[in-house]
């Protein structure tokens, strides 16, 4: 757990005092990732660096797991805080192994233990130990270097990690991969993490909570969903972007809004049965055909069913797309737009049909929370409702 209590930093500059962080008070529960988000110069990095005293606070206190850190020796404090920076900062004079084990060695671990730890860390970041441990940082790609940077910060197993735009200098494709890897690691490690970012999409993806900063002040501190649903003021709203309702699509899994009620036909049914089912379930255009293992096999169009006689197995079209239960709504929406359809069959891990997701369900799910958070004055005009 990290607790900041009225943390303040005033820089004395030739132009007068500049308040970089103004009475920041917040709390990050153990095991969560808190993203410090804001435009440059908003005080997010200053706040982060005051925790490990790279920047000395002017006033205020930092508590880690309930302990006031102002009583701790600076070196001692820092060795218990993993630190990852955007410039990576691997020591080019040291091998990968020496880089990863630098904190354990400072802490005086014996050789066998820190060597074993280095291999363990390499396994965790999915790099082959024998191929990499004896190499030097300059021989690695940027993405690999930052993985090592994360491994170095985690090597001594600190309960708290401070990350200053750790993936900011990595190309977008590798960044997404590293973010996913990191989230997977975090599911096991459950570190308490403060993470500076200026990228709203990264914040939504990585954060359990997001703290939005502006001009040295903490403007809003909330979960990503709450933040997107109910930005506190115009600044937060503009920072989140016009498309913030769409960004919430990332946060909701298909599992949360799937309905398990879905009418299907099997290949052996007649088209007459299919037409009847389409009418029974009130579908507009088509019905899904599943094979004997319950997997989606095709769709039967309404017009075909009405005008043709025969069996479904001879008159179906390909299924345009399916979504898994753990996919997010962004993917579902994208598939719907791409194929010009308003519903998608959902499949479980074995690929069996287990329900469907409709465009209506998606919009009403997002809209319900949105309206609930906004209060009455911002509900849409009745005429706009269906």
């Amino acid at each position: 757990m990290i607790q900041l209590d009225n943390l303040t930093k005033v820089f004395d500059t030739p132009k007068g005092a500049v308040v970089a962080a103004d009475h920041i008070s917040m709390e990050v529960p153990a095991g969560e990732i808190c993203i410090l988000l804001g435009p440059s110069g908003c005080g997010k990095t200053t706040t982060l660096k005051m925790i490990n005293r790279i920047i000395r606070p002017t006033s205020g206190k930092v508590f880690i797991d309930g302990e006031d850190t102002s009583g701790l020796d600076t070196q001692e404090l820092r060795r218990n805080l993993g630190y990852v920076i955007q410039q990576i900062g691997l020591f080019p004079n040291m091998t990968i192994e020496e880089n990863i084990t630098v904190v354990p060695r400072l802490l005086g671990w014996d050789k066998a233990r820190y060597k074993a730890r280095a291999r363990e860390m390499m396994a965790m970041i999915a790099l082959e130990p024998d191929a990499f441990l004896k190499r030097y940082p300059s021989e690695l790609s940027g993405g690999q270097q930052q993985r090592i940077g994360v491994a170095r910060a985690l090597a001594a197993d600190p309960p708290v990690m401070l990350m200053d735009e750790p993936f900011g200098a990595i190309d977008p494709i590798n960044r997404a991969v590293i973010q996913d890897e990191f989230l997977k690691m975090q599911q096991e490690l459950r570190k308490t993490i403060m993470f500076v970012s200026h990228d709203i999409d990264e914040a939504i993806k990585m954060g359990d909570r997001i703290a939005v900063f502006r001009e040295g002040r903490l403007v809003q501190y909330a979960t990503p969903d709450d933040l997107l649903a109910a930005p506190k003021n115009a600044f937060v709203e503009s920072f989140l972007g016009e498309d913030r309702a769409l960004k919430r699509l990332n946060l909701v899994k298909v599992r949360e809004i799937v309905t398990d009620e879905i009418g299907t036909v099997s290949p052996g049914d007649t088209l007459q049965t299919a037409l009847a089912k389409i009418d029974d379930f009130g579908y507009q255009n088509a019905i899904l055909m599943v094979n004997e293992r319950g997997q989606p096999a095709g769709i039967i169009g309404r017009s075909v069913a009405r005008t043709t006689k025969g069996y479904c197995r001879d008159h179906f079209q390909a299924v345009p797309a399916v979504v898994g239960l753990d996919d997010d709504l962004r993917k579902a929406a994208s598939l719907m737009f791409a194929h010009d359809i308003t519903w998608l069959p959902c499949v479980d891990e074995e690929g069996r049909v287990c329900g469907q997701i409709t465009q209506r369900a998606m919009t009403s799910h997002l809209g319900a929370r949105f309206r609930a958070r906004q209060g009455d004055d911002r509900t849409p005009h009745p005429a706009l409702k269906e």
Binding site: R78, F91, P92, N93
Partner: protein, 243 residues
């Protein structure tokens, strides 16, 4: 292919030329004249090396710590101006430095070593300072952030990363030092300058060359030795010659 052939031909030509130069020098008796100076060369080479080693060693021992001290953040205010003073110091010709040190310390080895020490000091101090200041600030932040003390940062991060530049300074300084030692003869400190200046005065080219050639060779050897040490000592990850 033609370039390869041309290179081969030039190499063969060079070997032939060296061979005939050897034959000529043997026939004309130059080699015997040189050999006549051999005992002198041996003795004076010892003196020469001693002057270089002592003045160079003192300069390294003084300039590296000086560079380190000046590069510390607390010295930031005075460091640049002090460097300027040292810079001005090197613009004074070595001969003038020797003359000055003679006027204070008299003649002999002591003023010579002092003069050489002063002349050798700056390239080393300058490179140590620049090398340490040139270390990527991200490394220093990372080092501080993971809990290294200032001393640990210096020893484990700053010095290894600046070492190549520091060695470049030592290499330049000592090579110049070897080439400057002959001047020390002028204030009575011996060294190969004895053969060079006496040879000039007596218009004895062979005598002069007996001093000049070993001096030149010595400079090349010292340069090569330091390059080798740098190659071996500077960590592979920050050693351009081992990349």
């Amino acid at each position: 292919m033609p370039i390869q052939t041309l290179k081969g031909a030039l190499r063969a030509l060079l070997l032939v030329a060296v061979f005939f130069a050897g034959v000529w020098s043997h026939a004309s008796g130059v080699i015997d004249d040189f050999l006549w100076y051999l005992p002198d060369v041996r003795y004076l080479l010892g003196e020469h090396l001693w002057l270089t080693a002592v003045s160079g060693g003192l300069a390294i021992g003084f300039a590296v710590p000086l560079g380190i001290v000046l590069s510390r953040p607390t010295m930031a205010g005075v460091a640049e101006s002090l460097m300027q003073v040292l810079n001005v110091g090197t613009t004074i010709p070595t001969l003038a430095v020797l003359a000055l040190s003679m006027s204070f310390l008299g003649i002999g080895t002591v003023p010579a070593v002092f003069g050489l020490f002063v002349a050798t000091l700056l390239p080393i101090a300058r490179n140590t300072y620049a090398g340490l200041k040139g270390v990527n600030p991200a490394l220093l932040e990372a080092a501080a952030g993971i809990g290294m003390s200032p001393l640990q940062r210096l020893v484990k991060v700053e010095l290894p990363n600046a070492l190549y530049v520091i060695f470049a300074g030592i290499r330049t300084a000592l090579t110049i030092n070897v080439g400057t030692v002959p001047l020390a003869f002028l204030i009575g400190a011996g060294g190969l300058g004895e053969l060079i200046f006496t040879g000039i005065d007596l218009y004895e080219p062979v005598m002069m060359l007996a001093g000049a050639i070993p001096t030149a060779l010595l400079a090349i050897v010292v340069d090569a030795v330091i390059a080798t040490v740098a190659f071996l000592v500077v960590p592979r990850g920050v050693n351009p010659s081992r990349a």
